[in-house]
């Protein structure tokens, strides 16, 4: 049986070739060759090759080639190592010039491996940073945003403990797009309590791309793109699969996943992959109490079928996502007075010590279906054409606490807010290879329709978007260049309650996006520079939202006069290997012109009392920061990883701070791996600490007291939050794992010290502490 893509076990092969050469001096022998990945056969860049006896050594270049000169005759131990791989030693009798190829196995003990890809294909991504299957397994059963946290610069915005949304370099929501299997995920992007509707078990690889590489997908990737990539349907000729199980003590739940793939018959080039997963958790416990109604359940499945002909291949993909998530019971409040009493502790929430799996109001029921068909024709060596059609249904039902006074049975059964979003997307792309460059050109068309029932928060709309893009890349020797531009036209027809079906309000926006990235090979590293400008049309919620948001007790008001938003971003990423240390650093700045945000404006009286009103407004914003990561080996089997994620954001026009910008975060992890103990392969333990600072650049606190005294006439600050940013916190986590045969085991303890803390990036920080200690067990069996 052929091994699966995600199995990081393969057979070591050493191919040694001897080249006969002329008689030589004693110390003029050269050893050269290549270090390759045993699994993929690709060169391993910057692998280190060391002759232990003489101390002579070299690093491979970006393609894996190396050479060491002026070696004296003798017997040597040659050690080849590469971060992410099991180091190899071999004894050599060096008598003449020698050429040698090493294949290195992946090391399962490696810490958060990030991979910067440079495939030798027409479509090279220069800015992609990925986390792969092996690492995703260490967080299996968690939400997608939680699993993506291993990507440098990736953070998350939470709503309670059941809803997590990815945040990249401070940006989220409408500005950070998510792609599922190459298709732009269409959901209700706008709410921070709307997590991506994607089964995390589907992911073979999770990546982030920015700048020029995002142009192919969208004109509006202002904060980048998060790619969720399932396994290639053509990945296995034989039947193979995996079963994954995860259990956790906090929430007393777990997740199960199964996957099967292969080829139907040897005669037919027809391939398949099927996958199913489920998750169920009950109430989560802080160090002190159970949080009422914080359970979640999920059932998802997907399949893919693929046909690989001589010059063409075609595949269909279908995924189905179903989720029911409890929202913390005491997060839905009456009015400003209620919020004040909870924040100041005048009223304490009646949390209990009774655990429950029940999910009652308030809760969300979310469904997502994606169907995709894709065909690729290789017209000749140089030209390829790809066509993709996809259709998505997204449904979101929100069941509030407030169902009206004396509700009827029918009122009790239905959601207070019900969205149905249907999206069709077509893409046609040509890719060509030329002597000195390659080029791709594509057209895309998108149709969206949104319907709502219930609480009148956002109008119905239909919307079309047409785009044309062109990308080129050139290899200039030292520099690799990729650049491109995209034109997009966006039309929207807005219906009730803003206008009507017969006489809709029509809006249109259009504009260009353009980007450039350049990558330079350095000694033992590389440098990537990226510049990009994206734009996006104001979203329908930003234009027309009107009403009371129960979850946060605030009135939100759209502005139909909003203009399009445009970003100008720059970033530089440096990767370098120094001895046993690998270093990754990114610095970035993103200036956003006409940045759309919710600005606190007023206090509004309603029959339920006073509520703050937030208006959608535009300003100029600047986001800047740095992501740093250092990892390496301290000793045989002892490795470490240290990261820093720094982000700043500011309203350039007023100098104010924005709300919900992640505070700086620092983490460090050490890991010890031992040699195989009989059947127990590569046992390891690790300990990691994570320090999150207080967000000292937070808006001022809402002046509750003066509002209650002087009512609606109170002068409000230009920017505010309902409570100050929570204190800094430190979390400790321990993990251990091993592999027996085809089965891997991992146990972990999160929040080892059972610390009580609140997280600034959790919208429920006003009401609840974060979860306490959690013990997890993960088992994966490959077959």
């Amino acid at each position: 049986m052929k091994s699966f893509i995600w199995i990081v076990v393969s057979i070591l092969m050493i191919l040694i070739g001897f080249a006969p050469v002329n008689a030589q001096d004693n110390c003029s022998i050269e050893i050269s060759g290549r270090v390759v990945d045993a699994e993929t056969g690709k060169g391993l860049s910057f692998a280190s090759v060391l002759l232990q006896e003489s101390g002579q050594g070299a690093y491979a270049d970006s393609a894996g080639f190396f050479s060491i000169k002026e070696i004296c005759r003798g017997d040597y131990t040659l050690k080849v190592s590469h971060i992410g791989c099991v180091p190899r030693k071999m004894v050599l009798q060096l008598r003449q010039d020698t050429t040698i190829t090493f294949s290195l196995d992946h090391d399962e003990s490696i810490l958060h491996e990030f991979v910067v890809e440079a495939k030798e294909e027409t479509d090279v991504t220069l800015t992609k940073i990925s986390i792969k299957q092996a690492q995703l397994e260490t967080t299996s059963g968690l939400q997608l945003a939680e699993q993506a946290l291993a990507i440098p610069g990736m953070r998350m915005q939470e709503t309670g403990n059941t809803i997590a949304k990815p945040v990249f370099r401070g940006l989220q929501g409408n500005r950070l797009l998510v792609l599922n299997a190459g298709v732009r995920q269409e959901g209700q992007y706008w709410g921070s309590e709307h997590a991506p509707e994607i089964d995390p078990f589907l992911a073979q690889q999770v990546s982030v791309i920015e700048g020029v590489d995002a142009l192919r997908y969208a004109p509006d990737a202002i904060g980048g793109l998060l790619l969720v990539e399932p396994a290639d349907v053509f990945g296995s000729d034989s039947l193979s699969g995996a079963l994954t199980g995860m259990g956790a003590t906090n929430g007393r739940g777990g997740a199960l996943g199964g996957e099967l793939m292969g080829r139907f018959s040897e005669k037919l080039p027809l391939y398949f992959r099927g996958q199913i997963s489920g998750r169920k958790f009950g109430d989560v416990r802080t160090p002190d109490v159970f949080l009422v109604n914080t359970g979640a359940e999920e059932l998802n499945y997907s399949y893919a079928l693929g046909w690989k002909g001589e010059e063409w291949k075609a595949e269909v993909f279908y995924s189905n996502f179903n989720q029911r998530i409890g929202i913390y019971r005491y997060s839905h409040l009456g009015n400003l007075t209620d919020l004040y009493e909870v924040i100041t502790g005048i009223r304490s929430n009646p949390d209990t010590t009774d655990f429950s799996y029940d999910i009652n109001r308030p809760y969300q029921e979310v469904g997502h279906e994606l169907f995709k068909g894709r065909a690729e024709w290789e017209l000749n060596e140089e030209n390829t054409i790809e066509a993709i059609y996809s259709r998505q249904f997204n449904s979101r039902e929100e069941f509030d606490i407030h169902v009206g006074i004396n509700p009827s049975a029918e009122e009790l059964a239905r959601p207070q807010l019900d969205y149905a979003l249907t999206t069709h997307l077509g893409e046609l792309i040509w890719r060509g290879k030329f002597d000195s460059f390659s080029r791709s050109v594509g057209v895309t068309g998108l149709f969206r329709e949104n319907n709502f029932r219930g609480r009148n928060f956002m109008p119905n709309y239909r919307n079309t978007s047409f785009g044309v893009f062109g990308l080129e890349q050139r290899d200039l020797g030292v520099w690799k260049l990729k650049y491109g531009a995209r034109y997009e036209r966006y039309d929207a027809a807005i219906f009730n309650p803003v206008a009507s079906e017969d006489d809709p309000l029509n809006l249109d926006f259009d504009g260009f996006s353009a980007a450039l990235a350049a990558k330079k090979d350095l000694k033992n590293g590389d440098l990537t520079l990226s510049a990009a400008s994206f734009w996006r049309a104001p979203a329908v919620n930003e234009l027309f939202t009107s009403g009371l948001h129960h979850g946060i007790g605030a009135i939100e008001q759209g502005d139909s006069e909003l203009q399009k938003e445009r970003s100008y971003s720059l970033s530089a990423t440096l990767r370098k290997v120094f001895g046993r240390t690998r270093f990754l650093a990114t610095a970035y700045a993103n200036f956003i012109d006409n940045y759309i945000f919710l600005n606190p404006r007023d206090i509004e009286l309603t029959i339920r009392g006073a509520f703050p009103r937030f208006d959608y407004e535009q300003t100029d914003a600047l986001y800047w920061g740095a992501d740093l990561q250092v990892d390496g080996q301290l000793d045989e089997g002892l490795s470490y990883l240290a990261t820093a994620s720094l982000v700043w954001a500011q309203n350039v026009e007023t100098g104010d701070f924005f709300i919900n910008i992640p505070a700086h975060q620092f983490s460090a992890e050490v890991k010890k791996t031992w040699n195989d103990l009989g059947q127990i392969k590569q046992p390891w333990i690790s300990l990691s600490g994570n320090y999150t600072m207080e967000q000292y650049r937070a808006p001022s606190v809402f002046p509750f007291e003066s509002v209650f005294q002087s009512g609606v006439d109170t002068e409000l600050p230009r920017s505010f939050d309902f409570a100050g940013a929570p204190d800094a916190y430190f979390l400790l986590e321990a993990r251990a794992g091993m592999r027996v045969g085809n089965t891997s085991f991992q146990i972990g303890v999160e929040n080892l010290l059972n610390n009580t803390y609140r997280n600034y990036m959790n919208r429920f920080r006003y009401y609840m502490d974060e979860p306490g200690i959690n013990l997890t067990l993960r088992i994966k069996h490959n077959f």
Partner: protein, 201 residues
């Protein structure tokens, strides 16, 4: 490894089923239709009957477009000194002027879970007292507060107010619970309206 016919069949069956499922969903989404089914409370009407002469006056809080949009209109309550008023409160959904819905009856149907509170502000507790109409109780014998009795004691000075709050899901037997204090009883706010109050000579 070979795959059995049964297995192949089940894969195709699954595929076929999911395609059918897609079609079904599509039918639902053909026409956008907005139905605003949410129950809104837009108006609170206070009806005052002077026990001396049976004269009736009404004061209203009205916000027909609901939260956001246009600001609500709020009448000033004007009463005469040293009088006794029987007061009843009525809550309405008047968002559709052609179909005004009285929600008071729904409150009364769920009377064990609801209670109105009357909180004088700005020194108004010197100008009047408000007590529950003793005959109006729920099945447990606790007050509801739709009907109240207001005694004016002296003319008001500036800035006196009366706040009227409807709470639900509260513990009506909580210690310290009174007509002007619901702090320890839990529950949530359905209505919270403050009227300016004038008691004339």
């Amino acid at each position: 490894m070979n795959i059995s016919k049964f297995f192949r069949f089940s894969i195709f069956a699954l595929a076929a089923l999911t395609f059918v499922a897609c079609e079904d969903d599509d039918d639902d989404d053909d026409t956008p239709s907005a139905v605003n089914e949410e129950e809104l409370i837009t108006d609170m009407v206070l009806t005052f009957t002077n026990t001396a002469d049976q004269s009736v006056s009404t004061f209203t809080f009205s916000d027909p477009d609901g939260p956001g949009g246009n600001a609500p209109s709020i009448d000033d309550i004007v009463l005469t000194d040293t009088a006794v008023y029987n007061v009843s409160v009525q809550v309405l959904d008047a968002s559709n002027p052609n179909d005004v819905e009285d929600i008071t009856s729904e409150v009364l149907e769920e009377d064990e879970e609801h209670q109105f509170f009357y909180i004088p502000g700005g020194g108004a507790d010197n100008s009047l007292t408000v007590t529950y109409e003793t005959s109006e109780v729920d099945d447990d014998g606790n007050p509801i507060g739709v009907s109240t009795v207001w005694n004016t004691l002296q003319p008001t000075t500036d800035n006196e107010t009366i706040q009227i709050v409807l709470r639900h899901d509260l513990d009506k037997n909580a210690p310290g619970l009174s007509i002007n204090d619901f702090a320890g009883a839990g529950g949530e706010t359905d209505i919270d309206v403050t009227f300016n109050l004038t008691v004339t000579d």
